[in-house]
Amino acid sequence: MTAIPVTTRKDWTSDQEVRWCPGCGDYSILAAVQMLLPDLGVRRESTVFLSGIGCAARFPYYMNTYGMHSIHGRAPAIATGLATTRPDLDVWIVTGDGDALSIGGNHLIHALRRNVNMTILMFNNQIYGLTKGQYSPTSEISKVTKSTPFGSIDTPFNPISLAIGAEATFVARTHDMDRGHMQETFRRAHDHKGAAFVEVYQNCNVFNDGAFEKITSRDARASMLIPLVHGEPIRFGADLERGVVQRSDGHLEMVEVAEVGEGALVVHDEVREDPGLAFALSRLASGPHEPTPIGVFRAVEHPEYGEEMSRQIVRAQERAGAGDLEALLRSGSTWTIE
C-alpha cells in the first residue's frame, strides 16, 4: 500500500455544477464534508457516497469519489451489499428525512440494528423539497403544506429516538450552521465501527425556511443548543447557567444549575450499554423550538455485521477447507453408468 496522498478540498470536488437552490443548507454540509475528507486519512478511490432520492441525494454527484445516486429510500440496502462485500471501502450514505424515514424506513432500521459499516448522514429539513413542499415524517403536527392544506395530523418521528430504538450503536445530531460541529460529528461517525447515524438539521430555505432558526441561529445557539460531551455534566446557556438533571422516575429535566448545584447534573455517558439515558436525552426537546441536545448521544462498540459475515466464512474454510465444487456435486448419492 502506498502512502495516502495529501489532498485538499479540490481533490474531493467533482466537476459537476452544484444544483441546489441558492441558500440551501445542503451547501454548507457539502463544504464541511469536502473539507473534512482530506483530514480523515482516507483514499478517494476507497470512498463511496451512496444516496436515494431527494434534494440531499444529489450529494454523490458533487463528490469526486465513487458514488451512486440510487432509488428512493434504498441506499441502506444497497450499501449493505457493498459494505459487506467490500470491507476495504468507506461507505457513506447521504439521505433526507423523507428518504430515510418514510419510504426507506425499513432499510434504515435494519441497517442500524445489524450494525453494517456505513456512515449515514440524514439531512433533516422537515419537508419534502424535491417534490416541492409536501410535509415529511419529521414535520411538526398541524403543518400546513400543499398536501396538508388543513394541517398535518400525523405525529412526527423523532429521528434520534428512532435510531436508538433500532439498536443503533452510534447516534448523533448536528446542524448546518456550524461547520466545526458538523466536522467533529462526521469525523466521529466515520471513525465508528458499524453503522453510524447522524441527523443534520438542514434549512430548506425554499419550502421550510427557518425551521431550526430558533435554535441554530448564532444568537440562539448558546441558550438553545445543549452540547453533549462525554464524561461532562450536561449544561448549556451563555454562562453554562442551565443544566439537565434526572428525576427519580427517570425522566430528564432542564434546570438552573444554581438551584440544584453542579453535582446534581447528569454526566453524559455516550458509551453506556443501556440506551436509556441516550433515549431520555433524545426526548428532552419535543422539537427545534426549545433547548435541544446536539452532539453524540450514543457510541458503543458492537460487532460489525460484515466482519461477522467474513468471520463465519473464515471459520467454515478453516474447518472444511476452501469449497470444492467437484466434491459438492458428489455430496449426495451418486452412481456410475459404465
Binding site: S14, Q16, R43, R44, E45, S46, T47, F49, L50, I53, P60, Y61, M63, N64, T65, Y66, G67, M68, H69, S70, I71, R74, A77, I78, A79, T80, G81, L82, A83, T84, T85, R86, D88, L89, N106, H107, H110, M309, Q312, I313, R315, A316, Q317, R319, A320, G321, A322, G323, L325, E326, L328, L329, R330, G332, S333, T334, W335, T336, I337, E338
Partner: protein
Amino acid sequence: MATGTKRDTERLERVVIRFAGDSGDGMQLTGDRFTTSSALLGNDLSTFPDFPAEIRAPAGTLAGVSAFQVHIADRDILTPGDAPDVLVAMNPAALRANIGIVPAGATLIVNIDAFDDRSLAKAGYSGNPLTDSSLSAYTVYEVPMTSLTQEVCKEAGVKPRDAERSKNFFALGLISWLYTRPIEPTLEWITARFGSDNPVAEANTRAFRAGYHFGETAELFTSNYEVRAAPFEPGEYTQITGNQALAWGLLAAARLAGLSLFLGSYPITPASDILHELSRRKDFGVRTFQAEDEIAGVGSALGAAFGGSLGVTTTSGPGLDLKSETVGLAVNLELPLIVVDVQRGGPSTGLPTKAEQADLLHAMYGRHGEAPVPIVAPRTPAHCFEAAIEAVRLAVTYRTPVIVLSDGYLANGAEPWRLPDLSTIAPIDPAFASEPNHVDEDGTPTFLPYVRDPETLARPWAPPGVPGLEHRIGGLEKADLTGNVSYDPANHEAMVHWRANKIAGIAKVLPDVEVDHEDGAEVLVLGWGSTYGAITAGVRRVRGRGLKVAQAHLDFVNPFPLNLGEVLARYPKVLVPEVNLGQLSKLVRAEYLVDAHSLNKVQGVPFRAAEIEDAIVKLIGGTL
C-alpha cells in the same frame, strides 16, 4: 430379510406411484427416499412433490393432504407421469383428494387403520368407500399400517403415539418390496439422519423392515415387480432438484468468473431452498444475506455488484413485483445482476406451492420506461445448473440484470443428472476496468463510465478501489460516455436505443433454437421453460400414432434466438403450450406475425403428456 413364500417378479417398463397422506405424515420424505433408491438402481425418474401451502393444515382434512408422485422407468422419461398406477393413501382424505386423477385399473394401497368413522367424516365421506362399491374399478389392498407399525415398535420401547409417526416408513418398506428396491440405502439413510442410538431411528428402521416383510409374507400380493435400469449415457450421476441445481450453478458460475458470490434474499416459497443451500456454502466464500424485505434483497445484490461481486437475488412472483424498481435501476446503471424468479401461481399470494409460468410478461415488461432485460428459462430440474451459468455469463458480459424464470415444478422436482465435466465449461470474463479509457482535451487521462464495447455495447465495470476511475452513476438519465446526469432529449433517445440494442444484440451469441423436425410435419410445438418434459412426451406419443410433428424449445426467451422467425415461418401451424393464458404466444405473434395457437392450463399443476398429445392431434386434424 426373512424370506416368505416365493412370489413371481414381473417386469415393468415403467410405473407411476403416488404417495399421499396428511401433511404431518412425512409423504415428501417417503417419496424422496423411494426416488433415491430408484435412482441408485439406475432407473430414469421424474418427481412431482405436490403439497399444500399450510405447514400443518388440520389433520385428516382435504386441505392438509400432501402428495409425492414419482415416475420410474427402464427408459428415458420426461415427466412425473400423467396418472398414477399406484396410489398409496394413508388416510381417507388422501384417498378422496387424489382418487380423481387415478385411472380405472390402478392399484390402491390404503392404510385401513385410518378409515374409522371420524376420519371418513373429516374427509367428507358419508359412507366408507372401501366397503361400498365405489372403488370397484381399482385393485384395493387394505393394509393395517398404523397398528402393524405400533406393534413392531412396542418391542423397541417406543410409545404408541411416537411409533404411529413411523407408519410412513412402513409404507415405504412395503412399496420397496413391491418394486424390488434395495433396502440398504434407506436403512443407512435412517441411521445417518436420526443417529444410531436414537429411538426414532430404531422405530423407523423397524417400521421399514416390517413393511418390507409384510409384502413378502402376507399372502396379499400375488407378485412383485421390477423396473430395470434405464440405458443412460455413461457417466457419473446424481439425483437433483431444480433449486439445488440452480444454487450449484450459481456457485459454478462464480468460480468460472472468478467472482465472489453474494446472495441477497428474502424467504419466499418456492425459492427459499436456494437461499438455504447457498447459506450452507460458506466454505465457498459465499455471502448470503437474509434481507429485511424483497427490495433490500435485490438492493443489496446490486450494491454487491457495484462493488465487483456476483450479486444475486432469489424470489418468487410477489417478490419480483417488489424488485421491479431496483431491476430498472440496474438497467440504467448497466451492472450485472441475477434475479431468479421461481414462479408460482398468481396473482398476489396466489398458490404459493403450485407452479405456473405466468411471470413471463412481467419479466419482459414489468418495469416503467424502456427497460429490456434478458430472460433465461431452465427446462428441467437439472437444466437449472446450466441456465444459472448462462444467465451469469450474459449478466457479466453485457453488464445487465438477467431474470431466470424457474418455477415451483422445476424447483422441487427431481431427476437424474449426469455430472458435468466442469473443465469443459467456458470461463466468464468480468473484464474489470483497470485504467483510464479516455484523454481529456488538456491531456489528462480520465475515465468515462459509459464508453461502450463495440461488439457487445457493454460499458466498463469499474468497482471502487481503482485510483483514477472514480465515477458516479445513478438512476437519472446518463449522458452518453460521461455518465453525467443529462436531461437532453436527444441523449435520452440515444441512451434508450443503446440499452435496447445491447440486449437485442445478445441474440448474436445465443445458440440457434434447435428443431426436432420430422419430414412432412406441418405442426411445430414451441415451448419454453418447464413444459419441456410434457411437450416432449406428448410429441413422442403423437409420433407413436404415426403422425408427423416438430418440436422446438426456448431456453432464452429474451432476446429470441436469431433463427426463431425463420423456424416459425417453416411450419403452417404453430402450437404454444404454456402454464399461463398465452404469454409466449403473444410475444411470438407480435414479433413474427405468426398465427400461433395457444394451449393453456392454469391449475397449478404441469401439463400432462396426454393433454399435449390431444392438442397436437387436433391441430393436425384441423379441429383445434
